[in-house]
Amino acid sequence: MGTRNASAGDGMPQLADRLWRSAEPAASYDAVIVGAGGHGLAAAYYLATEHGIRNLAVLEHGWLAGGNMARNTAIIRSNYLLEASAALYEHALQLWERMEDDLGQPVLFDQRGVLNLAHTLQEVRDGVRRVEANRLSGIDADWLTPDEVADVCPVVDVSDRLRYPVLGATYQPRAGIAKHDLVAWAYAKRLYDLGVDLIEGCEVTGIETAGGRVSGIATTRGRIATGTVGLAAAGRTSVLTEPLGLALPLQSHPLQALVSELFEPVHPTVVMSNAVHVYVSQAHKGELVLGAGVDGYNGYAQRGSFHVIEEQLAAAIELFPAFAGAHVLRTWAGVVDITPDASPIIDSTPIDGLFVNCGWGTGGFKATPAAGRLFAHTIATGSPHELSRPYVLDRFASGALIDEHGAAAVAH
């Protein structure tokens, strides 16, 4: 496996020197989105383009995409088990397929396919069931034998040397990865062109209400009057809603990932393994990108425990013996908001004018354009879009949960 000598910019698109400008906060807006991750940016984009709301600001505590947006491992797929999820994530996948045309900027969406390996008889049954369910929902899905897995990704060890040999895999050819920072920049540029304010370094410290409805927000850069607030704050959503007496079914956990040094292209797809507990792809620049499940405790520190990294490296070397010589270059963590059914919440709240898009947990990057579009619909019309109707808060009272733990645990 040759280390890559070419410069890091190799094969990366050339962008204009300046794509957007961070704005100063105005005294009031028609609507404010909290959080300049992918979801907040996309929500603002669709509010402006599909609902004509342009007197709008996106407020960001840190910097553009400094949260989970540029910390994720950028996997995009729509092969979820249940109809509600398949419809949601497939809508997103179709928006990804035309994102460069919509936004007019490169995002390096690369449909290199995703393999979900099965290592036990139960995983084979679950995988085959998911493939059949996906096909019924009109989603591309195949069940591959171990030899076919090796054809798609020759570096995976499909021999019976493994403690848990590969018995087969689900394969979604249209799945893939995108370059997350380019996605954020593309939205930021479009928002700038549309006259929407992106305000970095502006933390929302409180949501003001009067007579049961939103009247404004307190920020580290002063008060802003607004009747409409959309939270796209990912792992920090609870912190914002708790003072309002709105306790959401969310738990914030660290989720870690890591990259190796740059290598020549050796890994042509994305491989995930729930049982051996790791997933691996190779970034456009050449790093091997590895991740696994969340740390087992709540944490807001954007930092997790070392043994989680150690275990995913051991798992990676088990599945990909060729990677034994690779080195860990960087590790990091984000803070992800986990719901009890591993599915998101896109809804209005009991407080008039306050809307939440949260609970995307470990898997919201792939949903970015759809999350933004559906959230914008809820904010602009006050009621859910057909695709997000199942994703309302009331499901935790009615019991109509959308249990995607099988499709969204180690796999993101």
Binding site: L248, Q251, G296, N298, G299, Y300, A301, F306, H307, F396
Partner: protein
């Protein structure tokens, strides 16, 4: 790696434990008195502070006892650990 002091076995590495979430969430005395919202809240909603949180942890690879860990979720520091309260005692 967190270092957690089991009240029975002393300080041990985090990998010997599992975190069981917020401590002190007790079964409703009369579940039939709850409406759907309240029951859903009991089942699915737990505190999620950025700061101190009392949790229940189990020393699965040791004495297998459950006990209380107070942890700051912002700094990841373990603030204190203690045995579970006796029946009727406060957390």
């Amino acid at each position: 790696m967190l270092l957690i002091e089991c009240p029975w076995c002393g300080p041990r590495d985090e990998i010997e434990f599992v975190c069981g979430g917020q401590a002190g969430v007790s079964y409703p005395p009369d579940p039939f008195a709850l409406d759907d919202d309240e029951w859903g809240h009991y089942l699915f909603v737990r505190d999620n502070p950025a700061g101190p949180l009392a949790e229940q942890w189990c020393h699965t690879a040791g004495c297998r006892s459950w006990f209380i860990v107070e942890r700051d979720t912002l700094t990841q520091h373990v603030l204190a650990t203690r045995k579970l309260p006796e029946a009727g005692e406060e957390l």
